[in-house]
Amino acid sequence: MLRITRREQGTLRRVPAAVRGARLFLQLVATMAAPVPLLFSAPSFSAPSISSVSSVAAVSEAAAANGAIRGRVEIRRTATGIERRPGVADLGTPPGRLIPDLRRSVVYLDSAPRGAFEPTEGGRAVMDQRNETFVPHVLAITVGTTVDFPNSDKFYHNVFSLSKTKPFDLGRYATGSSRPVRFDRPGIVRVFCDIHSHMNAFVLVFSHPFFALTDGDGRYRIDNVPAGTYGVIAWNEGTSSEPKSVSVPDGGLAELDFTLR
């Protein structure tokens, strides 16, 4: 069962201020001693919880042909990217930057077929740094994948993440250089640049291959899904849908649309 909790998505429960304050104080104290604390219940985008391989979907063992799920994700909310901080200390206008495409969503199976969790040889993926923007803004990969972070700008970048799934800091490196990160655990990794605070991206790491990134129109297609009934989730910029149930017929196609508000 692959499940990203509400808290992990950054959708937070209302907590009384006094409780928050007490928690803040205790966490601050704990911070002094603990190596990896989290002071506020901020959008942490930590690892999706994952149980074991035995927790699988109701899939017919006799299923012979694989099917597919396709559909469209409609975004009805205004997802806003991180703007540049007001650069009052800048001596001139800062250079222009690309605006990341925030409408790209990821659709994935909440529960995966048996065998889906078998270790696979990790591939490679690329997340470029271009015009002070991570390109692509969202990357969906399987566990074991190594992501290269080339720097295509004329100046330094410093890619890092404080996520629990994969904390890393690649340091500063120049144009034309690239540094890799291997993602060994499933979860959501929020990636930032230590020099340019408005640069951010998501790496979604799955322990199974049943996921797809939507295109510019919000359309997706997940192929090679064994026949069976699954819960499917759509994710966009830290917000995800409730799981929707869908039955994939033998060698057939299931249609499933989402609306994210």
Binding site: L24, F25, E83, F160
Partner: protein
């Protein structure tokens, strides 16, 4: 309840209040944007707790101790088309008066050219450190001496002679002179990191960004930035910055401007009319180098300043009173979210000859600060540091060592 605890509680309450914003949203982690990103508002809160600084090594422009300070900055930028932007920042320290820190219009006459004109209370042209406005831009808690330490130099009050100057050594946090203003007030740092000057600034950069140049005409001087001119004398300040290789930034700055306030000058010239001393200026030069690579950053900055003051009585002040500061700092990231940093500072002064002694006109100071920073969240940084201060001469404490902790939140 001790003052330190009181401040800790205030800081805590402030964070909690912010945490209780509408929709139970946690502290904002990014600038607040309106109008499709054309209006952005950012903030920076730094709560610093440390022991009393009886030697006034860390006093700032507004007589606050930089190591016991709650500082709140709110900045905003409004983009009004491709050619105009309005930028501003207000700041309060220890919940005191809210002061404008920056307020200017940025004009880009040609959208495709790297040339900007900024008019108003503009960013510092001189040096490198003063433009690191946010607390998270400073690896440590304290400031470089050249940008923070209050010398015994004042623009509105003057020592009548060398003996009076020497008598006040080390008392830059609050001193009184016999010429000009008689009120007790603080002296100036070589370059102020706490106030921005008012004027017109032009900045240009080559297409590759390898060469950048800035020139400004302002009302005050680098040590005494002003909103209202107090002496009808402008300052001209310029900076050239080279970025010959990735990670390497080399900068050079020059400044010269009328320093002494008109009232003080009149008081001095009334005492003795010397036609040779009609321009009382501050001249400053600065050099800075930054190199960064992988997980470390190294910075060096030197500032030299010379003040020309009216010479009133014997023993006469020398034609120029000089000061020189060096600052070298390094930061190394030990692991994601955790870094160690250290800075060594030295601030020295030229010698003057008094009736009884020959000595630097203010007491030289050395400082070593080392610490760590830990990111509790991306935009919530805890800094811990230990600072050693040594002063060579003067009446105040000769040495002070103390720890400090700072919690920095920004959005």
């Amino acid at each position: 309840m001790t003052t330190a605890v009181r401040w800790a509680v205030r800081a805590w309450v402030l964070f909690v209040c912010l945490d209780g914003r509408a929709d139970a949203q946690v502290l904002p982690s990014e600038p607040i944007a309106f109008a499709n990103g054309r209006v952005t508002v950012g903030g920076d809160i730094a709560a610093t707790i440390g022991p009393h600084d009886d030697g006034f090594f860390n006093n700032t422009d507004y007589s606050h101790n930089a190591m016991r300070l709650l500082r709140i900055d709110v900045s905003a930028a409004v983009e009004a088309g491709p050619h105009f932007a309005l930028l501003g920042e207000i700041r309060t320290e220890n919940f005191g008066q809210v002061r404008p820190y920056a307020a200017y219009v940025r004009i880009r006459p040609w959208a495709s050219r790297n040339f900007d004109v900024q008019v108003g209370m503009v960013p510092p042209t001189f040096g490198a450190f003063a433009r690191r406005t946010y607390a998270n831009d400073n690896s440590l808690i304290g400031y470089p001496l050249g940008y923070q330490y209050m010398t015994t130099m004042r623009a509105d009050a003057l020592a009548a002679n060398v003996d009076e100057l020497l008598k006040n050594r080390s008392e830059g946090w609050g001193l009184r002179y016999s010429v000009g203003s008689r009120t007790r007030d603080g002296g100036v740092a070589l370059v102020s990191a706490f106030r921005w000057d008012t004027g017109v600034q032009m900045h240009a950069s080559s297409a590759s960004g390898v060469v950048q140049g800035t020139i400004a005409v302002t009302a005050g001087t680098v040590s005494n930035p002003r909103f209202n001119d107090d002496n009808d004398g402008p300052q001209v300040v310029g900076r050239v910055e080279l970025r010959p290789a990735s990670g390497l930034v080399v900068g050079a700055s020059l400044a010269r401007g009328a320093f002494v306030a008109e009232d003080a000058e009149r008081a001095a010239l009334g005492a003795v009319s010397n036609p040779d001393d009609w321009r009382y200026t501050q001249s400053a030069w600065g050099g800075d180098v930054e190199y960064s690579r992988d997980h470390y950053v190294l910075r060096y900055e030197a500032i030299g300043s010379g003040w020309r003051l009216p010479r009133v009585e014997r023993p006469l002040l020398p034609r120029t009173l000089g000061a020189l500061s060096h600052s070298i700092e390094g930061r190394y990231k030990l692991r994601p979210g955790l870094y160690a940093a250290a800075r060594w500072d030295w601030l020295g002064f030229s010698e003057v000859v008094g009736t009884k002694e020959t000595a630097p006109w203010d007491a030289p100071v050395k400082r070593l600060e080392a610490g760590v920073g830990y990111s509790l969240q991306r935009n919530l940084l805890l800094k811990l540091s230990y600072q050693l201060n040594r002063r060579d001469g003067g009446k105040l404490e000769k040495a002070e060592n103390f720890p400090a902790a700072q919690l920095v939140f920004w959005f």
